[in-house]
Symmetry: C2
Subunit: 361 residues, 2 copies
DNA sequence: GTTAGCTTGTAAAGCGGTTTACTAAAGCGC
DNA sequence: GCGCTTTAGTAAACCGCTTTACAAGCTAAC
């Protein structure tokens, strides 16, 4: 119980050498005769020595620790990313600490500062809020040690890893078009985010390929269930004759589907829906949700590889890598009912409209 | 760029006092005249000083950091728990580091060792694998600083916080019984885990209240999708005339539902299903899944409060606290087909979805 | 006036490592 | 045997902060 914690000096004494010798041996800075090595290793094993990470970090001025900056670990998308990062970091001898920001730029700056003070060796940076010049500036000052992941930080230089949002939007649009839809709605994340813009751009590119297709409505908001609900509600209220919706995140899709279910909008008979991200168990939904799947684990892995190579003095070439996304066809997209008609409009009766009004306060 | 990082000594010099004075002021160990305080605070602010956490930890012999030991952060259940722990820890001045074990006892011991070496001040310990005497022993040696969460470690003393698994099993069983089921199956986690045993015991207690009810089959395995698939497959293959299944985790339920869907087993017409945990978006499943919901966030919060009080020398009374679980009625349970009262089936789609929305706020 | 007790501070010894500067001993060519 | 280079190893400074031991200056009590 009251046993003393083994220190380097204990190992040294036990092995009959000095602490410096043990330290340099441990860090591979010296080549020792086999019997000395044996004595040292023996002592370490016998005493159960483990270096004190705080002392080590203090002394070396680096910690072999990277921070994973994310908005929210409760979100399964980020959780999966975190898991991938964790697993990828180990083999590089890097520990990772979770830096949850709740999307507050104050906290983001805080972690950037930790990087600046060398309390963290590198950062994998994922932020979800609108452009922030100060943030970009802070990132650029540390550029060799941060990789931007999943969502762009405008004006920040340095390496970035994204899913191919534009292509994802395009695939979603084309799939809907091929099913025969011509009046489409887009429920996006925050309007000025790269991910939203790229998904929208890709979606528009697809629509451009069918002369009669039009983006009848679009909505923006957080990547949240609440935004999904609100936007879906607004969409129904607007009464546009929309036959298909592109919900650009798992959370948005879930919120929208809740509202559609509550209003008895049948998917896909009344309305086709396609999602984005594809982390939630959509294959068991009613109906199974067609969506664009992001390569979440690959994103995390790549970010670590890139950062690790940068920390080892490797050249991290600035600029974005876009990893391919994938269309997962399930059952939430079918041909529009009357070629043009929308069930959505019809089912919105006076009572629903009233409730809408109440809720929107 | 090449600016030096501000150290305590810089602050001291700038304020015209010694480092000890600044340090003691910062740690509240001294009461200084207002003008001295003003000079110190001014210097700190002006120089943008932040203490080096490694130096601080090294010097104080503690880190104000607790470890959250969990099997897998990619699992939404654990992710939600982690999120709650994170949020609860902040106000106590505690940082939390994620200790992902992948259920390997080697890693669990590693983190326990870190605790023993004072690299971590406390541990919230969640393990999912079968009993391990050595683990219990290691935990007992540090008992004042670890709280066991969610799953028991047998023979470990000290504070423990669980959902009320037995009551959850009971509620599930009673609900199924009330719907008229008499031949039931149980798909559990690892057989010797407390959570599995308690859920099974509760389930059996409920069945005991209906003379003709019997637990026709039970399966054990990991809390994994794969186990859900395998057990559901075995269940169908066995050909028992089972009318209802209790799937004891989100993952198991998902795996089982996949198999049922693939085999065209209609839920609830052919088979009623009730789940456990209730983190996944089951309200949008086909059909919406009835389940027992665990108070995940409350579990995390309580664990932190308990640990924090223990670290402050408070008395952590040993023994388990069991937080109440909740039955969430949806549509995956109905009367058995050739049983009586099939008219009781609910068709409350809209209303149910609405309630979901209210609840999730 | 001397002793005692605050108040406001200081100097310096850790905490447990890493690393630089240096030495003693051995190896080697001639 | 002599100078020169390796090899094997040491002592001590240092990383940035906390904390102990102590001192000077001032007030109050005896």
């Amino acid at each position: 119980m009251a046993q003393k914690i083994t220190r380097l000096i204990d190992v040294a004494q036990h092995a009959g050498v000095s602490v410096a010798t043990v330290s340099r041996h441990l860090n591979g800075h010296i080549q020792l005769p086999v019997d000395t090595v044996a004595r040292i290793e023996g002592a370490i094993h016998e005493l159960g020595y483990r270096p004190n990470p705080y002392a080590r970090s203090l002394s070396r001025g680096r910690s072999d620790t990277i921070g994973l900056v994310i908005p929210d670990i409760a979100n399964p998308y980020f959780a999966l990313l975190a898991s991938a990062v964790e697993r990828a970091a180990g083999p590089h001898g890097l520990a990772v600490v979770l830096c949850v920001t709740l999307n507050q730029s104050e906290r983001e700056h805080e972690y950037l500062q930790r990087l600046g003070r060398n309390h963290l060796d590198g950062l994998i940076f994922l932020t979800n809020h609108a452009a922030d010049e100060a943030l970009a500036k802070a990132i650029n000052e540390a550029s060799r040690r941060v990789v931007i992941l999943d969502e762009d930080v405008k004006k920040a230089r340095g390496p970035k890893i994204f899913g191919d949002n534009e292509q994802g939007g395009y695939l979603a649009g084309r799939h809907l078009l091929e099913a025969g839809h011509r009046r489409l709605a887009f429920i996006g994340g925050p309007e000025h985010l790269m991910s939203t813009q790229a998904r929208l751009a890709g979606f528009r590119r697809a629509l451009g390929e069918a002369p009669s297709a039009q983006l009848t409505a679009h909505y923006f908001g957080d990547y949240s269930v609440e935004n999904g609900r609100r936007s879906a509600g607004a969409l129904l209220r607007a009464g546009e004759e929309i036959t298909a919706v592109f919900a650009t995140s798992d959370e948005i899709a879930i919120g929208a589907l809740e509202v559609f279910a509550a209003r008895n909008v049948r998917i896909p008979d009344d309305l086709s829906v396609i999602g984005f991200d594809g982390i939630a168990p959509f294959h068991l939904f009613n109906p199974p949700l067609t969506c664009i799947r992001q390569p979440v684990e690959e994103l995390g892995r790549r970010a670590v590889e890139l950062l690790a190579s940068g920390l080892n003095g490797g050249r991290m070439r600035a600029g974005a890598q876009r990893l391919p996304v994938e269309l997962v066809v399930r059952e939430s997209v079918s041909a529009p009912r009357n070629g043009q008609g929308s069930g959505a409009k019809m089912i919105l009766n006076a009572e629903d409209a009233n409730r809408e009004r109440m809720e929107s306060k």
